[in-house]
């Protein structure tokens, strides 16, 4: 049992680990290090309610001063970890300090990927609350908006900007939005959704450069040479695990901190949240997830293993996206090339549940404006149901499911 646990990363995963340790009765030393100066806060609303202005940032706070004080932890916020000295068992901080540990949790999350030439005025990234507030302030000026990247973040921001009445173009190299997350068929429905709301889609389109006037972006040029006017560009082309501070530590850093099924990277060193790559035995697959609920669940699992549980983290992932009046709920994993079958409702009604299968087994269930049905059908993922056992809903069944 460790006596001095240091958690690097004070967002959802780090906080979840710390709280789970205390709930389990761990009464040793605990240090929580975070590079942002803010109290730990929630990120999913940044691209939704915060951007739309329906929530103020104080609603994002995960735990207030009182709850943090009850945690009985040393809180080092606004302090970035710059290195890991494994031989000396200490985390090095910007400014020269070092924090000693006998067990370490890495929960440093991800950093948004940048594009070359994207340091112009009017070009934004979105990861932090400060990013979201800067983006909102710029949106309020009524710009022509180009969103580069049609994953979760890009598609959600395009929906918010369009709902604000702005002229929005969504650009992506793949043939439909959210292709990587949900494949061609559901991605096609998301494309339709954005078109119906008046978003201009430029798909199978790469960005070749940013055009500016005096340092302010004025357009982006696509690979085919066409120009799209822009006063504001959001670059939403994915994120990279924040592992730069671990270079030279000897830990395996592939796509994230590579861990075993126990979320353990090396003896006494664990990872949780967006930064962690681990082997999930439920799917017999290595994965790294940038999902809000994974941060909580993986933090709990890591806390248990720190205290000797020795249990694999065999989660059924959950994530969601809200765009316009559409709520998508997703349970499980959605591998490229998965087969897809509608198992409740009807595509044409825009209210349905789809099962995704790989090698004949259900790996994921997606609900489109059908949260209750999707949550019920999640059991198919838990049970590793055979795709051949699924039935297409008859009209009667589909009506009953509504």
């Amino acid at each position: 049992m460790p006596r001095q646990v240091v958690i690097v990363g004070a967002s959802a995963a780090g906080l979840s680990t710390a709280e789970a340790l205390r709930r389990r009765g761990y009464d040793g030393g605990l240090t929580l290090i975070g590079d942002e100066p803010h109290l730990p806060y929630d990120r999913p609303p940044l691209s939704k309610q915060i951007l739309a202005g329906t929530w103020q940032p104080d609603k994002l706070v995960l735990r207030g001063d009182e709850a943090l004080s009850e945690l009985g932890a040393e809180l080092l916020f606004g302090r970035a970890a710059t290195g890991l000295d494994r031989a000396g068992q200490q985390v090095l901080l910007a400014g020269g300090d070092a924090v000693a540990y006998d067990a370490l949790v890495i929960a440093t999350g991800v950093s948004p990927r940048r594009l070359p030439g994207a340091d112009l005025d009017g070009v934004h990234l979105l990861r932090t609350v400060d990013d979201a507030l800067a983006l909102r302030a710029n949106l309020l000026a009524g710009p022509k908006v180009v969103v580069v990247g049609a994953g979760f973040l890009g598609a959600e921001v395009a929906a918010v900007a369009r709902t604000m009445g702005l002229d929005v173009t969504l650009v992506d190299p793949l043939p439909v939005p959210m292709h990587r997350q949900f494949g061609p068929r559901i991605g096609g429905l998301i494309a339709e959704l954005h078109r119906e709301h008046g978003v201009a889609l430029r798909l199978t389109a790469g960005v070749s450069r940013f055009v500016d006037a005096g340092g302010q972006v004025t357009a982006i040029e696509l690979a085919d040479g066409s120009l799209i006017d822009a006063d504001l560009v959001l670059v939403a082309v994915g994120a990279s695990p924040a592992t730069g501070w671990l270079d030279g530590s000897g830990l395996a850093l592939g796509d994230g901190v590579e861990c075993n099924s126990r979320c353990e990277a090396a003896p006494g060193i664990y990872a949780a949240g967006d930064v962690a790559s681990w082997h999930n035995p439920h799917f017999d697959a290595r994965m790294r997830l940038e999902h809000r609920m994974n941060a909580t669940e993986q933090g709990i699992a890591v806390a248990g293993n720190l205290l000797g549980d020795d249990l694999p983290f065999a989660s059924v992932p959950y994530f969601w996206t809200d765009q316009y009046d559409v709520k998508i709920q997703a349970y499980g994993i959605f591998p490229p090339g998965a087969e897809l079958q509608i198992i409740s409702g009807d595509l044409d009604d825009r209210r349905f549940v789809a099962a995704y299968g790989q090698h004949g087994t259900v790996t994921g269930v997606l609900g489109w404006n059908s949260p209750r049905e999707a949550r019920t059908l999640r059991q198919l993922v838990v049970d590793r149901a055979a795709m051949t056992d699924l039935t297409t809903p008859s009209p009667v069944t589909a009506a009953a499911a509504r």
């Binding site: 609920m293 669940e297 959950y318 969601w320 709520k327 709920q329 949260p371 999707a374 949550r375």
Partner: protein, 64 residues
Amino acid sequence: MKVTIDTDRCIAAGQCVLAAPDVFDQRDEDGLVVLLNPNPSADLAVEVKQAATLCPALAITVED
């Protein structure tokens, strides 16, 4: 034990129903949380606290 929910935060994940089906349900039309029992008995404490912890939208508050 007193449970309160904030439907303005709820994102219809359904994790509360999976954790504590005797206390939470979801509305048919939009999946938002329905609190079946705002004062669950102590034998449900573990399930209810699990629901509050897992809720990805922080929509559930539990007071002892």
